[in-house]
């Protein structure tokens, strides 16, 4: 008989609805037990009670350690990591009574028979265990279970948690924790349900759902609002229908009634129906927060704004850190470019780069005004380039051109070329050195970050300059061709002539092929076998393959580092989650590789010349004007070369920024680690909700931002994400969101960015992390992309994006890879369904849906 009690208290217990006290099983355990008591469908669960925890901590060496910790002051940030590691070591190695171990063995083995189990810390007083880790730990065997339970017990004693208790004057006695062991279910959908939506006036239930496991970071959940009185789903554009939402809402209302107040319920929809995983009371329903965190542009003047032209630089909702890092650099880059051109720069108090609902937009009116003040500048042309249409042709007054401006333009172009060269080599050089940040003193860390920022600052300036030069030369080529060809034909030829812009460049497709090149050059048969195999630990196994393995891993690390991050401190990088890289390599070693022959523009140019030569008018003009050397061909060739040169430069500048962004992100991840260790933020992700200045002050211990404030910012950020992208253009405050451009036939329409037709299943990708789910041959549907996404183009069958124009990164790379692409398809990520079969027509700029009923 194995004892499962100590001094009359149970060491372990099933959460089966029987009587338990909160002192024994903690708040989360109690809520789960109540769900069970009221016969809600929950996965089998048990609990290691606070009695087991208290017994374990009542004996040396843990008793001694806890007594000491109660008297210690908080360690300085640089020592917290080491101290926490020491505490964990002591917990893991401490001798714990056989009674507890046997009780855990018994209950653990019974649960493990049903499958892997998740461990959730259930504190007696929720606040006292803040920072104990909300993320469940998953185990599959008894040995891991023991280790995981000890880690859970150690969590209230980590420096961050102790600091939090002291700051909030909470007694150490409330630190007791129980540990819930819950069998993991395989969800088809999962998410949370709030029986009172925090952003409504209490008459709606909010259900958020994600396909698969909720741990899929980066995915924006589908949101459903259900009326509490009628259980009707409030229709929202672009939201797909899920059958079970109504049943879930009904169940949520019953839980609220049974548990006596509004609840936030974690749920999973399995093959066997809905399962409730945990629930927690919404003690004080939060007030609606709206979408402004104080960083949005206040009271915009009656100017026209557009997200086009900035969305690739600051994509999606820009959290405070991302915004406060990038905006000043981008604003300065625009102003510097305008000043260099001798234009009238708008006053400082009128921002060119604005922010609405957390998303970046450009002041198109200001840019048009600047263009008007430039000799030869045409505001209508600017509008056409940004929006694909002219909004107010009548107001468009082109500036007068003269020779001095042309010469100035040449000088600026030369400077941009030099500056891009400098930044590109410097960025690669710095990142290559693999600066060790872990032990770096804070002062050096901040100084290093500032230097990286200085380079990025210059990078932004050259990127904006190169972008405008690329746009201008591209349009000039198009207009030049329009002298001899109809407008549509001229547009297609311009696309074809610039499709090889990155062939000889170290960026663009070549960079995407970094992983491919590593495979081709360094992967032996045994390395390929390891890559194709299933399971973790591939790095370790390849490292054991001797010299070949080491060489391969070194080359792989170099290629991954060069992939950078989305914007300066944006999304996660390829280097942060190695599983993405292995998955991508696995795809590349299997069938999904794209042919690697560079296209080049010379063949297309020769074809164009032959095409033009068939025209009698073209031939006659040459004879009459005595052109032994055809001046028009030379003129065209020069224009093509110039356009290609600036497109390549723009991509190189963009890429340098991403590489620097990756390095800045590495620094910020390190800073976040230190802030978590010192208890200043609850988890590393919270660093996104600090401003740049706050982050720096917190690193020096000069200020603190409360968890409430961080939570508020997180909710506002979430509201912004839910509010959807900005319209293509708007005057003053933006409307709700962009409308979906649906043709009468049900097809979606956009810009033809890369020719060809392709039929395949849709894969909607919202982040780089999400991108690794893309299967060979699937159609990549996203809001926008940047060079860090380019490896995904190697396996995609076609590309559909919500924003972008002929010079977008996606358009350039798609043309280079020969992928059909349609860009600027408004609302495509909401209108198309995951897995739906569509045909992408890159010639006509159309996405044809085969099942019209699925149009929302």
């Amino acid at each position: 008989m194995i004892p499962t009690r100590t001094r009359g208290r149970r060491l372990v217990a099933y959460l089966d609805g029987s009587d338990h006290r909160v002192e024994d099983i903690g708040t989360k355990g109690l809520a789960l037990n109540l769900l069970r008591r009221h016969r809600y469908p929950t996965p089998p669960a048990a609990i290691v009670t606070t009695a087991a925890y208290e017994t374990a901590l009542g004996a040396d060496p843990l008793a001694l350690l806890v007594r000491d910790l109660n008297t210690w002051s908080s360690p300085p940030p640089e020592r917290t990591e080491a101290e926490s590691a020491g505490i964990q070591r002591t917990f893991l190695s401490a001798k714990i009574s056989d009674d507890i171990n046997n009780a855990i063995d018994r209950i653990g083995s019974e649960l493990l028979d049903a499958g892997p189990i998740a461990l959730i810390v259930s504190p007696v007083a929720t606040a006292a265990a803040a920072g104990c880790g909300d993320e469940p730990v998953v185990v599959t065997n008894l040995a891991d279970l023991h280790v995981a339970i000890r880690r859970c017990w150690a969590s209230p004693w980590m420096a961050a948690t102790r600091t939090y208790r002291r700051r909030n004057h909470l007694p150490e006695a409330t630190a007791a924790v129980a540990v819930i062991l819950q069998v993991i279910v395989e969800p088809v959908w999962s998410g949370t349900a709030m029986t009172t939506d925090p952003d409504s006036e209490g008459h709606l239930i909010r259900v958020e759902a994600l396909p698969g496991n909720p741990a899929q970071a980066g995915l924006a959940p589908a949101r459903f609002l259900v009326r509490r009185d009628t259980l009707e789903i409030v229709p929202e554009p672009g939201t797909q229908h899920l059958e079970f939402v109504e049943a879930l809402a009904r169940m949520g209302l019953r839980v609220e009634q049974d548990l006596g107040g509004p609840q936030q319920i974690d749920w999973a929809m399995t093959q066997d129906g809905i399962k409730l995983l945990t629930t927690a009371p919404i003690s004080k329903p939060p007030q609606p927060l709206g979408t402004d965190d104080g960083l949005d542009t206040p009271e915009p003047p009656d100017h026209t704004y557009t997200p086009h032209g900035v969305v690739e630089m600051i994509p999606g909702v820009a959290a405070p850190l991302l915004w406060t890092i990038n905006r000043p650099m981008l604003e300065d880059a625009f102003r510097t470019t305008f000043a260099d051109l001798g234009a009238q720069v708008p006053p400082e108090e009128q921002p060119i780069v604005a922010r609405f609902r957390g998303r970046a937009a450009l002041d198109l009116s200001a840019i048009c005004d600047v263009t008007s003040s430039l000799p030869g500048g045409d505001p209508a042309e600017v509008q056409r380039q940004y929006l694909g249409e002219v909004l107010d042709a009548a107001d468009s007054t082109p500036g007068r051109a003269h020779v001095a401006t042309a010469l100035k333009g040449r000088r600026i172009h030369k400077r941009i070329v030099d500056e891009v060269d400098l930044i590109a080599i410097a960025a690669d050089g710095v990142v290559r050195m693999e600066i060790d940040l872990y032990d770096m003193p804070v002062r050096r860390l901040v100084a290093y970050r500032q230097r990286i920022r200085d380079l990025a600052w210059r990078g932004y300036a050259s990127e904006v300059g190169a972008s405008s030069a690329a746009g201008a030369t591209y349009r000039a080529l198009e207009l030049l061709l329009q002298r001899w060809l109809p407008a549509e034909e001229a547009g297609s030829w311009t696309q074809m002539l610039t499709k090889g812009a990155l062939d000889q460049s170290p960026v663009g497709g070549a960079r995407a092929r970094g992983l491919e090149q590593v495979l081709d050059r360094y992967a032996t048969d045994s390395i390929r076998t390891e890559i194709s195999g299933a399971g973790d630990g591939k790095r370790a196994r390849i490292a054991q393959l001797g010299h070949d393995g080491t060489r391969f891993l070194e080359a792989l690390d170099r290629a991954v580092r060069a992939m950078g991050s989305k914007t300066v401190y944006g999304d996660e990088t390829w280097g942060e989650d190695e599983s993405w890289v292995w998955r991508q390599l696995q795809l590349l070693t299997s069938s999904g590789r794209r042919p690697t022959t560079p296209t080049g523009w010379k063949d297309d140019f020769a074809a164009l010349c032959r095409h033009l030569g068939t025209s009698k008018r073209w031939r006659r003009t040459r004879v009459i004007t005595g052109q032994v050397v055809d001046l028009r061909v030379r003129w065209l060739r020069r224009q093509v070369q110039e356009t290609i040169r600036f497109i390549e430069l723009r991509e190189r500048a963009k890429n340098a920024l991403l590489v620097l962004g990756g390095e800045e992100r590495r620094i910020i991840v390190e800073a976040a680690r230190r802030l978590v260790a010192s208890g200043q933020i609850p988890n590393p992700d919270a660093v996104r909700f600090l401003t740049d200045a706050e982050l720096e002050r917190m690193l020096f211990g000069q200020c603190g931002i409360g968890n409430d404030e961080l939570g508020k910012r997180r909710r506002i950020n979430h509201n912004c994400a839910t509010a959807g992208p900005l319209p293509d253009w708007f005057v003053g405050e933006p409307a709700a969101h962009r409308e979906v451009t649906v043709h009468e036939s049900g097809h979606l329409e956009g810009w033809a960015a890369s020719p060809g037709r392709y039929t395949g299943p849709v894969r909607i990708i919202t982040s780089l992390a999400d991108g690794t789910r893309l299967q060979p041959g699937e159609i990549l549907v996203a809001h926008s992309t940047d060079p860090s996404w380019t490896p995904l183009f190697l396996v995609a069958g076609a590309v559909v994006l919500e924003v972008g124009g002929p010079l977008s990164h996606a358009a350039i790379v798609a043309r280079e890879f020969g992928l059909p692409a349609v860009l600027n398809v408004r609302g495509s990520t909401r209108a198309l369904n995951q897995g739906e079969t569509v045909t992408v027509d890159g010639n006509e700029g159309r996405v044809e849906r085969h099942d019209h009923r699925s149009v929302p």
Binding site: D421, M440, A447, I624, G626, L631
Partner: protein, 174 residues
Amino acid sequence: MTLAVFFPSLMGVGILISGALLLSDWVRRLLPQGSVRRKHHVVIGTYGAIAETVDAAGYHLEEPWFLSRGLRERRTYLLLAFGLALAGVASAWIGIEFYRDPLGLFYQSPWAVGIGYGVGAALVLVALLCAFLGAAYRSSPKLVMRLVTDTSLGRIILPTEEDHEAALDNVAKE
């Protein structure tokens, strides 16, 4: 009449421009290194930026060898020495001729002799330096070598990809 004049003249202009373009193409092919100096400036700026950045993080980047100029070929220095010496002597001789020419603007003007001698002396001095460099070449004293690495006496070296890689590996933690 109009056609007889207009078309031939239009064709004539076209033929002339074509000729000029062919000539400029030929010159460009012969002198493809026009932007070397600019590229060198970019390389210097790049390594300055890298060194500053890693220095903030407590790392030290050795100055790459290719930031300094290198020796030109020995025969180039000897040819330069000969040419400059010739130009120096010619300058002095022209100055004297101007001074002596009773019909010239500078007849008996000491400025003509002074400038001729001054320029001549400067050219001869550089010619001597070049001759010395041609003779001593790699074993020239440090001061002379400094002139080579820092002035146009030396040749600009643009680094290859491998040079860049080697230079970037030359970093140490302080």
